[in-house]
Amino acid sequence: MSSLASDQAWTLSSSIGLRPEPFGALAYHFESRRLVFLKTKDLVDLVRSLADHPTLDDALDAAGLDGRRRTSHLTALASLADAGVIELRSPIPAEATP
């Protein structure tokens, strides 16, 4: 499992269909045809909020996730990244830096 670049901008992949369920959500990757379970509602909210924040760390802060809950959510996000559910947002072209 890869470790996540939490100082980068992330988003829910556009290839993903997300279906709310009593336990959280079901994610389906239309290209790889993989089905992934998001096992808590907090995780679903977090995944949906990624695109609104400049970095993953900011999204975690905004959700009030710290300590052990932060660690467990980071682990869950890492496996979602491996499954292609979330992905790095394409970087906004920056001014050339010296």
Partner: protein, 382 residues
């Protein structure tokens, strides 16, 4: 070692707002008459859903966010509107995986499919060689399936699936099958034989022996890239659990829509006992899935029955409901293929006339019956 059922599976057993895995048999018409046909297909039903009704079902699946549908039959490509239905599904974000015997998958169809996204094709082949396959699926069916595979490969379709039902006669060929799939750049799918449809009659002659079940378990364990449709979870009693959800999803996360719109708990229980309603009912498919009494019952917690005292119950869950039902066994007891043989005595005691018959048989008149099984298969056993 016993594995604890993860809470997710418990939640799934209580049912979801929409199925995860939905099978839709488009027609009972088929050019073949396989001895183990789970839907006892052959003749078209005059009451088949019309094109408009099929498109409306797709719109409903889209609203329910059913991400993909497993289309089967009968032979689905026999329907004249097959392409219309598939195109409409894909245009509405309902992915399609369809099963075919390959007969009508000519070069032109292969090219068309190769140009589409969100489409998976699964070709059924129940013997590595023509002799083994045709004994079960009928004369010429091996050649037709291989031709379809060649057509898909030539059209650059990409990774299609070769689907095998494991029987007593073909399990010794699994390595050959795997090589065939690899040579095609295809994926192998191996599923369990259940005594459904015409399989009620052929089950005893085709089912795996206890030793063969053990061999299959290890063979799958060693090959995580082989798909199994989560169908062998009763083998988990043998040790480490196979990949997958490992539960009976009937009416909870799985269901079947049959060609006339009847909704059953799973493709292997086409029987009034497991019929929940019809997509033509006032509430449509959604109403049937969410409110039918039959499905709500299936989502109630189960008792383990005679399995509850078995040390393997957490891993095996007592096996497959359909297999118990169509062999006349109690639904809360051991699977007929229980790896510890705990169903053997009960099976031997079942009165043949008490075994439920399918309530919707579309076999062609004069379709091969159980009587022909030993003759055909003993002469061509590998």
């Amino acid at each position: 070692m016993t594995t604890r059922t993860p809470p997710l599976t418990e939640q799934l057993k209580r049912g979801l707002d929409a199925p995860i895995c939905l099978t839709w048999e488009l027609t009972y018409a088929c050019n073949l008459d396989c001895l183990h046909c789970l839907s006892a297909s052959g003749r078209r039903d005059p009451n088949e859903l019309s094109t408009e009704e099929c498109l409306a079902v797709i719109d409903e699946l889209n609203r329910l966010q059913v991400f993909y549908v497993n289309i089967g039959g009968g032979e689905p490509m026999i329907r004249r509107d097959f392409h219309t239905i598939v195109d409409h599904a894909i245009a509405n974000h309902v992915g399609v995986k369809f099963s075919t015997n390959g007969t009508f998958l000519d070069k032109e169809a292969a090219k068309r499919f190769a140009s589409m996204d969100m489409l998976d094709i699964q070709i059924s082949l129940d013997g590595f060689d023509a002799g083994t396959n045709d004994a079960l699926r009928g004369e010429g069916s091996w050649a037709a399936a291989r031709q379809a595979m060649d057509n898909l490969a030539a059209a650059d379709f990409g990774e299609f699936k070769i689907s095998i039902v494991a029987t007593r006669h073909n399990v010794s060929q699994l390595d050959d099958y795997k090589k065939m799939a690899d040579d095609y750049g295809a994926q192998l799918r191996l599923t369990r034989l259940r005594p459904s449809g015409r399989g009620v009659d052929s089950y005893q002659d085709l089912r795996l022996s206890h030793q063969q079940q053990r061999d299959v378990y290890h063979w799958i364990m060693d090959r995580p890239d082989v798909l199994t449709g989560d169908s062998f979870f009763h083998l988990n009693a043998l040790g480490e659990s196979l990949p997958g959800l490992n539960m009976c999803g009937a009416g909870r996360i799985v269901c079947l829509i049959d060609p006339v719109g009847d909704v059953y708990a799973c493709p292997f229980v086409i029987h009034d006992e497991f019929k929940a309603g019809n997509v033509r009912d006032a509430g449509g498919f959604t109403g049937v899935w969410q409110n039918s009494e039959r499905f709500l019952e299936l989502r109630e917690p189960e008792s383990g029955g005679a399995c509850a005292s078995c040390g393997s119950f957490d891993a095996c869950g007592g096996g497959c409901m359909a297999s118990k039902f169509f062999t006349g066994l109690p639904l809360d007891g051991p699977d007929p293929d229980c790896v510890w043989g705990h169903a053997d005595d009960a099976l031997a005691a079942v009165d043949g006339s008490a075994i439920p018959r399918m309530t919707s048989d579309h076999s062609k008149p004069g379709a091969r019956t159980d009587a022909s099984v030993p003759v055909l298969l003993t002469t061509k056993r590998p």
